[in-house]
Symmetry: C2
Subunit: 471 residues, 2 copies
């Protein structure tokens, strides 16, 4: 991989050139801001990293405006950092090398709903709950559901997934094609609306998970699904963590087509109870959902329930009406905020790994043994049907000792997952926080990623300081 | 996309340097050949393109040997063309710029079957029927089934799909990760065995469909599936093509989770009857398969059958026993050879496109009206559940008139598909034959592909003359 080496990165600007600021002011009028409050809002996400202020914030409203902005930034060697809901968990949107925060939330139109093709075309600032509402009228839904009400652009950029990934896949599987603005301002389309294609390199998948480092995503065509006829959700309590995880693994290995299969440990359940005023028994708990025809759902649920019972699980508590189900999953989606509420003033260092399902019991039980000795609360919650789980390290970010302890736990978790054939992040992305393991996880393939980055962004202006570790 | 421009491609060798031949002879001993018969076997695939002889053929048996070979070729600026079953349809394996044909069929070991994780690790020369047999013992199957008994390496390289893609996806969806040898001999792994990951650029998907132009694939980890409890197949005849396609589209839009949904027009049915000694009524026909629990399969089949009847379809003729089903699908898989047998001495120009399902009726009926006037047989066969269909242009390749006519029909088909938001190839790949439409399909995104190619293969030695059109 020699091609990327020995190339000198052109000098990035270190502050906003005044003439450029005037240029942007003229281009964007009231949608260009250098105010402290606006910059502050764009200096942080949901991670524990110290804020980093952008030099200015721009709010484009169209692909053409994004392209014009990118061309201008490119001319002035000014870094660009796309910004959506600010709900990233590894510092993705923090302008650590300064530059312009490109706030895409005004590009929030749903451009087309092709119900007959089961796809929709959205702008990157559309949020998942906004989309959910628009699709429901057509009897459709979009399955990928990270905890936050993230923007679809952010979800593409981090290759997000969620509770339904076990059945419907991640963003990788649910994006048809993209429009993106490259580092030099060129607007490309990465594919067509056909369901499959063998016509060249898969640029769609290259941009999914690229975290803003290859270009700015300006339009997304998503695959959507018909709302199933039968939906049924259930909660099942277990005497201990191992039996809960063993049940989950067995349900998957048995081939039950669960739509959701979530684990909350007793710490997380207690947090959820307190935060969402619920009364779940405070023990390790699996949350299930089944989709299909009414008879299929019943069949699947019976199999899962039988497996759970064999492992000491209690009776399934059902939620079949839509209202009850939403209530149940709201609790799950608020896990992060429930964890945050455990300690006033705390921040959550949220980390996630994913391992082959055959190693999940071992990985979770070893991890749990370790974090149960931590000096702060560490809820464990997971998309266990995928072999993916999270630790929410609820720390006082002003305490160096707690930060050190949290970093050590995170390191141990990631290295355990890598040893077991897993990945350093199943769904949060690399951002700032996971860069240190990219070499260990990818070896020489990391140089391929660098070569691609250099080929598409030779000046290193697209979200610099993210995804790829410094050499 | 300026970075890739103005770069001079280093001069490729135009013949096999004698010292290099001796080097290879020493390295590979009896597994290096310059014999005419061996070279001839590696000069062609199933396409209509004139053969192109490699300078020599090498049969590596391990990743290390491939890496050593690639390093040596790189040193001598000698092109490399990976070769598997030779069943590609767009000239992918033809060494049009000379060089070494890298025959990977001796790398045909199944390295691991992880039944508990539903994945398998195979070498690139393993064929799909070989894999099918090995998996069956474990109650597992691999769904992607192009017509030929292709190698898995070739299937990755062309992003192959098949009759079950409507339910289980293409190679894109069924490859977990890869090992590949890059142009400079570096061996990389593109990912881990975890079910999902957000750790960096999706190199796995970049290599799937790259047609040997970015590196040589030396190991493949595939997702496999449990053989469903209930499987049932059926055939349904229709009074005309439109009603058959309309039924297929409606089955998909209704959300019936069919496992297979294939169309054979009356010309293809006649060919299959003659070739496989069958007695299907010679009218447009849909072939269905349903997978699931026994009750689910029944439910799905009833819905599909009701839809077909509304469109004038006959009674479903069922094949539920495994033997009958295999017989039924064998006929479908032999469609290509059945077409070839229509005219002794003929070649098949096999082309495929894929359009959004909402445009499929229009696309197929327009196409059929055109090809029914052709001066040679043109069976139409399709994975219609995906919006994907094929024309098999059964031509005398020595007739310039027939070649011209076939090219014109192919061009009209592709341009129709592109106009309808589709792609110039749903599953055959670009190879030589579809290059001329890459610009029209991808616009400026084609330059991104070129930039990636230049970054990973700066000397242009990896399967030159394929996928990317000349500038």
């Amino acid at each position: 991989m020699s091609s990327a080496k020995n190339k000198k990165t052109p000098t990035r600007a270190t502050a906003l050139p005044e003439e450029f600021a005037r240029e942007l002011e003229e281009m964007f009028n009231g949608r260009f801001s250098r105010s402290d409050s606006i910059r502050d809002l764009h200096s942080r996400d949901e991670s524990y990293f110290p804020p980093a202020l952008p030099w200015a914030v721009v709010f484009p409203e169209s692909t053409d405006e994004v392209a014009a902005l990118v061309r201008a930034c490119n001319r002035h060697n000014v870094p660009m950092v796309p910004f959506g809901a600010g709900s990233s968990l590894e510092g993705h949107v923090l302008p650590v090398h300064g530059g312009i925060s490109v706030d895409l939330t005004r590009m929030n139109r749903i451009r087309a709903i092709h119900a007959e093709d089961r796809d929709v075309v959205v702008e990157p600032g559309v949020t998942r709950l906004q989309l959910e509402k628009a699709l429901a009228e057509h009897g459709l839904f979009f399955p990928v559901d990270p905890g936050a009400d993230a923007t679809l652009g952010g979800m593409v950029a981090t290759r997000a997934s969620g509770t339904t990934t076990v059945r419907y896949g991640t963003m990788r599987d649910n994006v048809v094609c993209l429009e993106a603005v490259l580092a030099d301002g060129t607007v490309i389309r990465t594919g067509r609306r056909a369901k499959k294609s063998s016509a060249g390199y898969d640029l769609t998948r290259l941009f999914i998970g690229s975290e803003g480092t290859l270009g700015v995503i300006t339009e997304i065509t998503l695959r959507v699904h018909g709302i199933p006829e039968g939906i049924s959700a259930a909660v099942c309590s277990f005497p201990d963590l191992r039996s809960a995880v063993e049940s989950a693994v067995e349900v998957i290995q048995w081939g039950v087509p669960v739509a959701r299969l979530e684990l909350l440990d007793e710490v997380q359940i207690a947090a959820v109870n307190a935060h969402s005023k619920l009364d779940h028994e405070e023990v390790p708990t699996l949350f299930f959902e089944f989709h299909g025809s009414p008879s299929g759902v019943e069949e699947d649920a019976r199999t899962a329930s039988d497996i759970a019972k064999e492992h000491g699980g209690r009776e399934f508590r059902w939620a079949t009406a839509a209202g009850e189900r939403n209530e149940l999953w709201r609790a799950r989606h608020e896990a992060y905020f429930a964890a945050l509420a455990l300690r006033p003033g705390a921040r959550v260092m949220s980390t996630d790994v994913c391992v082959p399902i055959s190693r999940l019991v071992e990985c979770i039980t070893e991890t749990k043994a370790e974090v149960s000795k931590a000096s702060f609360p560490v809820p464990l919650v997971g998309h266990v049907g995928d072999g993916n789980f999270h630790l929410l390290l609820v720390i006082d970010p002003s305490s160096p000792d707690e930060l050190d302890e949290a970093h050590a736990l995170n390191r141990a978790l990631v290295e355990r997952a890598l040893r077991m054939g897993g990945t350093c992040t199943g769904e949060h992305g690399v951002g700032i926080g996971k860069q240190r393991w990219m070499e260990l996880e990818h070896g020489p393939a990391l140089d391929v990623m660098r070569a691609i980055k250099t080929a598409l962004d030779p000046k290193g202006l697209m979200n610099p300081g993210k995804l790829l570790p410094p050499r």
